[in-house]
Amino acid sequence: DIKIGAIVSETGPASSLGDPEARTIRMMVEELNARGGIKGEKAKLVLYDDSGDPSKAKTFATRLVEDDDVVAMVGGTTTGTSLAILAVAEESKVPFISLAGAIEIIDPVKPYVFKTPHTDRMACLKIFGDMKSRGLTKIGLISGTDGFGASMRAQCLTVAKSSGIEIVADETYGPKDADMTPQLTNIRNKPGIQAILNSGFGQGPATITRNYAQLGITLPLYQSHGVASNAFIELSSAKNAEGVRLPGTALLVGELLDPKDPQKAVVLAYKASFEKVAGGAPVSTFGGYAHDAMRILTSAIAKAPSAKPAAIRDAIEATTGLVGTTGTYNYSKTDHLGLDLSAFRILEINNGGWKLVQ
């Protein structure tokens, strides 16, 4: 057997990310084995739930490499847990593919650490690009105080100026808050404001969207890639979410993609099988990250001369042109992210569904 380790935050504050990740990973291992495994060997998955706690994540990482003898790890739903796991991965020389956004995971490059999601900075750049193209330059920022929101806020604040965007309001909210109208009222009152960007995931963005409608704000509203899932539309109700834009992956708009788009087949296949096992839960970007990580890992194991961690690592680093749900991965010695801005697409919510803007 080939043992693959996974550590995700199935429960805890990041469970809306970790849960689809866990489902995806389990599903893909099953599919893989149903197809006969890798090079004739069955894959065996050892998956732990760190409930969002980096210390637990570190313990589980130690357990995976020391006790379970896995050949590689995927996971690290949040930046915090990813950082905890990667320390173990580096020390014990077991490759690790992270599912978290922060750039510091792969910058500077660490030999055994890779990641699949875009960075927050890329999301900011993508959004700002779209804003500029619509002539929106004075914007208000509202962010969740959780790791995702705070980290994206920090990145957006850093790249705003160089993108020609002026941030005139900077508000925050707690991830479980019931009402954000005071913050939105203050943002709306800023003179000359042209658009609002929300960096956050979970239920907060849905509440923002509903409060937005309640207050009758008509400025364009941008959300982050953290809400890229149909659950968001459901929670905010389609009417309120109409016209909201966000940087998303091909995953949400599989049907709309040009048939020639290489991602189309991958995305549709993943969506179909996920929705079959997920009992009604819609696909989300995060499950997509896990999907891509597993694809990269399994194809690397298949290509590697032996199922030894070091060999697998080399094979991962050699991955090029691998088409995932998030984008097309081209890893190299100096790039352990392997994605560029083109992987992001600006989506708009339209009639309760998704529309490709470009």
Partner: protein, 318 residues
């Protein structure tokens, strides 16, 4: 007789720390062991505050956070060696506990609980919000204290988890020893007395406000040291170590083990640290079983693991 109970506790503890590794098949077990010790250090502090003095704090994780971030920030910003940062963090926690404790310890019971909770929430919030200093919700890296390399140069080669197992075990042993000394000392008796009746303790000459403050400061130092050790061995610290849930967890460990008993607190910490590791085999049912175990322990051993077990044994003897 009392004395022997202290010695036997220390003996049991030392035996557990030293003998357990002989049964450890891999580094992972050292890692879990050291986490047990870290939690136990903080819990021994809670035992002093809650078990001895009867004061409930739901904000103690705040001090864990302070201790942890001291090890992350002081070396980077002030060039303090990480090992020394542990001490400075403890001093800082003590000072903050002194300042915070003076006003809030006038409150009683749940009101003290909510006030301390407020303190903990504030600490966690500052750690999460002041990203420029603390790295925000995703946490911050902690430098290596270099103690392991020091040992290595002395010819003692340990893996990272082994080193932290030994180090935290040692600190826990010292912490337990101090707490046991306190239990049967005049100060400790005064704490336990004011737990029973504040007026009576007062009329017996106990300066209740000061005694409570002492307990609060001491327990804050324990929490801080635990936080520092956690940060140093994880090489990373995040604001949720200071969060409400962690505070609750610490109190739960203390009560499960037996709030008034040092050994109980350590067992409580072990139980709640090990259980999630053991329960991973149950996958989805992990939380169900964890909750169930907590309830069952309290139903059948209402005074906590150790005191109730002791009572049962003693009863049989009579």
């Amino acid at each position: 007789m009392r004395l022997s109970s202290k010695q036997s506790t220390l003996l049991v503890l030392a035996a557990l720390i030293i003998v357990s590794p002989f049964f450890f098949p891999s580094n992972y077990y050292y890692r879990v062991g050291s986490l047990v010790f870290v939690n136990a250090i903080a819990v021994v502090g809670i035992v002093i505050l809650t078990g001895y003095a009867g004061q409930i704090s739901l904000g103690h994780a705040g001090f864990v956070g302070i201790g942890g971030y001291a090890c992350a920030l002081l070396p980077v910003h002030l060039g303090v060696p990480p090992a020394l940062a542990v001490v400075l963090g403890a001093v800082l926690s003590g000072v903050i506990a002194y300042g915070v404790g003076r006003p809030i310890l006038r409150l009683k019971g749940y009101y003290l609980a909510v006030a301390s909770l407020g303190f903990g929430v504030l600490v966690a919030m500052v750690l999460a919000n002041e990203g420029w200093l603390t790295g925000g919700p995703d946490g911050i890296k902690v430098p290596d204290p270099g103690l392991r390399t020091l040992l290595e140069s002395l010819g003692i080669a340990l893996t990272n988890p082994q080193f932290w197992y030994a180090f935290c075990g040692l600190v826990l042993f010292v912490g337990a020893w101090l707490a046991l000394n306190l239990h049967d000392s005049p100060t400790g008796r005064a704490l336990r007395a004011l737990h029973g009746s504040e007026v009576a303790a007062r009329t017996a000459g106990v300066d209740v406000a000061k005694a409570k403050l002492n307990a609060f400061v001491i327990s804050a130092v324990y929490a801080s040291v635990a936080g520092s050790l956690l940060a140093l061995q994880n090489r990373l610290i995040t604001p949720d170590v200071a969060g409400f849930m962690h505070s609750i967890e610490l109190v739960t460990m203390a009560v499960l083990g037996g709030a008034g008993s040092v050994l109980g607190g350590i067992f409580g910490a072990a139980l709640l640290t090990l259980l999630p590791q053991v329960l991973t085999v149950l996958q989805d049912y992990e939380h169900v079983v964890l909750g169930l175990v907590m309830m069952l322990v309290m139903i059948f051993l209402p005074a906590g693991l150790i005191p109730s077990a002791r009572r049962l044994l003693r009863g049989r003897g009579e």
